[in-house]
């Protein structure tokens, strides 16, 4: 019996370790095929966990960028890009372990993908390791003034989206609202700048209710909001809590209008709460300019390659741009290294320089010894001193069970008076 017990415990222990490892480090997409001359680029993101619905398309976007770079002949006289997917299980611990794996085992030159909390956790480590961290969807205000040195993002800051959102509401005559915000950093950050600007512009927050994810019900929280009798409620939380909250609000006949955080403004949100409940819900989201040639080309190539359109709001173009910009930066630096990317990424993406919209064009100009200004699929991507970009935005509404663009705002919208 002792023998059997020992075997059983051993199996469990081994399985536990294996499961733990799988969730924290994931696997390599094509690491096995990499040759010694290839340049390893890490995709460090939550392939499972709450970020999973987003990242499944981001992997495709990164693959598309990699293929375009390699088909154009690679960088630095023929070196090919090799992407390695590392699953953080949408946790900070997973991101830290995964980053160490990319730096030490895979010798990756850049880690693309961490979300806000992971970016914050890796901020000090990245300059030490000289491997930049780059996020396509970390919008937290916490990153507004701390990045720029081995930390960059193509996601617009919640600060700018918050300002746009506040201004749109005030201009449309909504002067009193309530807020439901999740009890975690990403949601709090999303609300922070919006609230600040909204109140500055003359708006009034009637009630702010913070809720914990994973509760059985949210009736008490909704009742508190209802007592304030708002015409509009701003929701900043996860998709997993949304059905409990939105369905209960509908059941109880709370007729207020909903605005939601851009973080959950995806088709899956509509699918999980139901089309009837979702109808009329609005959001303001960083949105690519549909007239942008680079964005059009990205969409066409993505669809041709993966037989499906890239979903709006999934930061696909942002992910794609990070790899293209990194490759151009390495070419400009003349070396395949994280320090090269860190040193040259602003030079190849910001003015002055000849505007290019593809990797191939950029490579050609760089080889000719010209300065370039890469215009990405997600926007102009001009990194400021803290590694942030300013985006264009759109007001979206759920109509007939799908997100539809109602209004478009240029990057200058918040500067207008």
């Amino acid at each position: 019996m002792k023998k059997i017990s020992l075997i059983a415990v051993s199996i469990v222990t081994a399985a536990t370790l294996l499961t733990g490892c799988a969730s924290s480090t994931g696997g390599s997409a094509d690491g096995a095929k990499a040759s010694s001359g290839d340049i390893n680029v890490g995709f460090l993101a939550g392939l499972t966990g709450w970020l999973g619905p987003f990242t499944k398309e981001n992997i495709n976007s990164l693959l598309l960028a990699k293929e375009e770079i390699n088909e154009a002949g690679g960088i630095l006289d023929g070196k090919k890009i090799n992407t390695i997917d590392v699953d953080t299980a949408s946790t900070v611990e997973g991101a830290i372990k995964g980053y160490q794996k990319l730096v030490n085992a895979d010798k990756a030159v850049v880690a693309i993908g961490p979300e806000t909390e992971s970016m914050l956790a890796l901020l000090k480590e990245a300059p030490k390791s000289e491997v930049p961290i780059m996020s396509a969807f970390a919008g937290s205000t916490e990153l507004d003034e701390v990045g720029g040195n081995y930390a960059f993002r193509t996601a617009a800051s919640d600060s700018t989206i918050g300002e746009v959102r506040a201004k749109v509401l005030i201009e449309s005559g909504v002067k009193e609202i309530a807020i439901m915000v999740g009890n975690y950093e990403g949601a709090q950050s999303d609300v922070h700048r919006f609230k600040e600007t909204y109140e500055k512009l003359g708006g009034k927050i009637l009630e702010e209710v913070t809720f914990n994810p994973g509760q059985n019900t949210y009736n008490g929280e909704l009742k508190k909001i209802a007592k304030a009798n708002p015409k509009l409620v701003y929701y900043s939380g996860g998709i997993d809590t949304a059905p409990s909250i939105f369905k209960a609000a509908k059941q109880r006949g709370y007729a207020w209008e909903w605005y939601i955080t851009p973080d959950v403004a995806v088709q899956e949100f509509i699918d999980v709460i139901g089309k009837d409940v979702a109808e009329g819900i609005k959001t303001i989201i960083a949105m690519e300019d549909e007239n942008n040639q680079a964005f059009k080309r990205f969409n066409e190539n993505y669809e041709a390659r993966f037989k499906a359109k890239p979903s709006g709001g999934y930061y696909n173009a942002n992910t794609y741009d990070l790899l293209i910009a990194s490759a151009l930066a390495m070419q400009a630096a003349g070396e395949a290294s994280g320090s090269g990317i860190n040193e040259k990424i602003r030079e190849v993406t910001n003015p002055p320089g000849k505007q290019v919209t593809t990797f191939e064009e950029g490579l050609k100009e760089l080889k000719a010894g010209n300065d370039i200004d890469y215009q990405g699929a997600s926007g102009p991507i001009d990194f400021d001193e803290h590694g942030n970009v300013i985006s264009t935005n759109a007001l979206m509404e759920v109509v007939d069970g799908q997100w539809k663009q109602v209004e478009f705002f240029t990057a200058d919208y918040i500067k207008e008076d």
Partner: protein
């Protein structure tokens, strides 16, 4: 009044989620951490029957509860029974390992997508012109009441129930008196796992099927069982209601973000004032 109703609904779900955990503690004498993942199994089983095999929801619920009960028993036979004599620490670590195995296997099968049962939004029930609760919430209360009454009947009127109570009081003495502990143990695992599966379904009905469901519930389940008096079934039921009511009523006066913390404050208070829990620690 509204907050009392909300608290009762929360408490009813907690009752179903916690009873099984308490029963296993009483008969097997260890904290079955994997109980949380049985909630997850129940929820996804119901999804399988309803959304994949297109069973009517009521039938999907019944099939899921039965399947979870059987699976729970099988898992116990494979993982727990062989190491039973190695002590409660081995059992505890085995249950933690089993939790991760269940979590990993389900994640590998279902992927990262968040799902729902796709049920229609239920209507509110009016009592004297006042909306009290939704039909779905009434359903949760009724199911919970049926479970409580059925369990009381089983524990007090059936041979197995009486055997369980005897074994819970003194396993060795019960065996000497001719009670078949192996059969009773199977019986406990079946009921415990089935109830966990049912709780998972009810939770997913009100929210979503997501991979964190089991982990999110297990701590609060343990709080309920500690407050109720480890292994006391009726104490657990009472504690579930008290914690449910406390969490929801507390939101009237304190910020809602501290709602969950209230459960743990109650646990600390109970441990300080009455370490044996609300009841004396027996079965009834």
């Amino acid at each position: 009044m509204d907050y009392v109703v909300y608290g009762i609904i929360t408490g009813c779900i907690l009752i179903i989620a916690s009873i099984g955990f308490s029963m296993v503690w009483k008969t097997e004498n260890f904290l079955n951490i994997a109980h949380g993942q049985l909630l997850l199994i129940g929820a996804y089983m119901a999804y399988l029957f309803k959304s994949v095999l297109n069973f009517p929801f009521a039938l999907a619920m019944v099939c899921s509860v039965i399947a979870t009960a059987v699976l729970g028993l099988l898992l116990a036979k494979v993982f727990y029974f062989p190491v039973r004599k190695s002590g409660i620490l081995v059992l505890l670590f085995t249950s933690i390992g089993l939790s991760w195995i269940i979590y990993g296997v389900i994640q590998a099968i279902v992927g990262p997508e968040i799902r729902t049962f796709g049920l229609e939004t239920s209507k509110m029930i009016d009592v004297f012109g006042r909306q009290i609760m939704s039909a779905q919430e009434l359903f949760i209360i009724v199911v919970s009441l049926i479970c409580v009454i059925a369990l009381h009947f089983v524990l007090t009127k059936t041979k197995n129930g009486k055997g369980f109570r005897a074994m819970a009081e003194n396993r060795d003495l019960a065996q000497i008196r001719g009670i078949n502990s192996r059969q009773l143990s199977n019986y406990v695992w079946l009921i415990s796992s089935g109830l966990a599966g049912l709780a998972g379904i009810l939770l997913a009905m009100t929210g979503t099927l997501n991979m964190e469901l089991g982990w999110q519930q297990i701590l609060i389940i343990m709080s309920v069982v500690i407050v109720g008096g480890m292994g006391n079934i009726y104490g657990t039921m009472l504690a579930a209601l008290i914690i449910g009511l406390s969490m929801d009523i507390s939101t009237v006066v304190i910020p809602t973000s501290y709602r969950t913390a209230i459960a743990f404050v109650i646990v600390i208070l109970v441990l300080l004032i009455r370490p044996q829990g609300l009841s004396r620690g027996g079965t009834a």
